[in-house]
Point group: C2
Chain length 139, copies 2
Amino acid sequence: MMTHNTTAEDMIRHHGGRATVGRIGILAILLAEQHAITHREIEQQLSETLPLDRVTLYRTLEWLVEKNLIHKVSSGDRVWRYHVNREMHTHQHAHFKCTRCAQVICLDDLPEKRNWQLPTGYRLQEIELTFKGLCAACC
Amino acid sequence: MMTHNTTAEDMIRHHGGRATVGRIGILAILLAEQHAITHREIEQQLSETLPLDRVTLYRTLEWLVEKNLIHKVSSGDRVWRYHVNREMHTHQHAHFKCTRCAQVICLDDLPEKRNWQLPTGYRLQEIELTFKGLCAACC
DNA sequence: ACAATAATTGCAACATTGTTGCATTTGATA
DNA sequence: TATCAAATGCAACAATGTTGCAATTATTGT
Ligand SMILES: [Mn+2]
Ligand SMILES: [Mn+2]
Ligand SMILES: [Zn+2]
Ligand SMILES: [Zn+2]
């Protein structure tokens, strides 16, 4: 049974980066989290055990995104949320954001991938689909 | 043939607001614009003819959204874009954002409105769908 | 284990977008 | 034209994110 810390360290080393205590701690937090969480939320969790400069956190998250170990979600407020990449996330997927508690979850898939119709001359690269409403806890 | 200014003034009066020179000018700019544009872009257009405080612009845009004369779009960067409401916009619709020139257009409709599947207990209120890619000019 | 070195970090300063409080000005109405 | 609530301008603040650079640290070779 692997702890999140050792999993995180493995993931980082496999991508040729230095396995620093900060990177490991940050990725371990994201591995333990089932929702997509903000820079601020990660910072708060870190402050309990491993204080880290805000800038380092920003740069580490950016690095983890580059290495494709996590992805970030823009959910309408002007705040990025981060979530670890699991197998289901190798392709594009939709998100749900609760309008009451602001929690964001990743959904399995982009439903009905076909049939998106754009004006002529437009080239599609990526689809961003966010459902908003109330989560089960807030209903 | 109505000028955008008189159209704007009519729209504002019909909603019981004061027809100030600022509100009219802002709404006229949005009426003349086919794309969804940012606070910053509106400010630049205004600066040529009708300098206006940033805060007033923010508050006016908020007021126009409340009155349902315009709507705002969150397009992934942390910047709101504003677009006048036309008939086609009375219901929800998708948007396209060019990843090169950042232009945002409103698309006609939410394709395939049915069939969105959420986890049990979740209640859907709103769908935010943004296509990203290259516009005709940038292809 | 130690030194060399490049990658990572911390800190200060800055940028952008947006909000709030309050005094002043202005549009609508009588 | 006088009145007065609504709208505006200004200053200060807040949240989120970025940049430059010197100090630190993880890795590698010895
Ligand atoms: Mn996701
Ligand atoms: Mn729109
Ligand atoms: Zn909720
Ligand atoms: Zn373009």
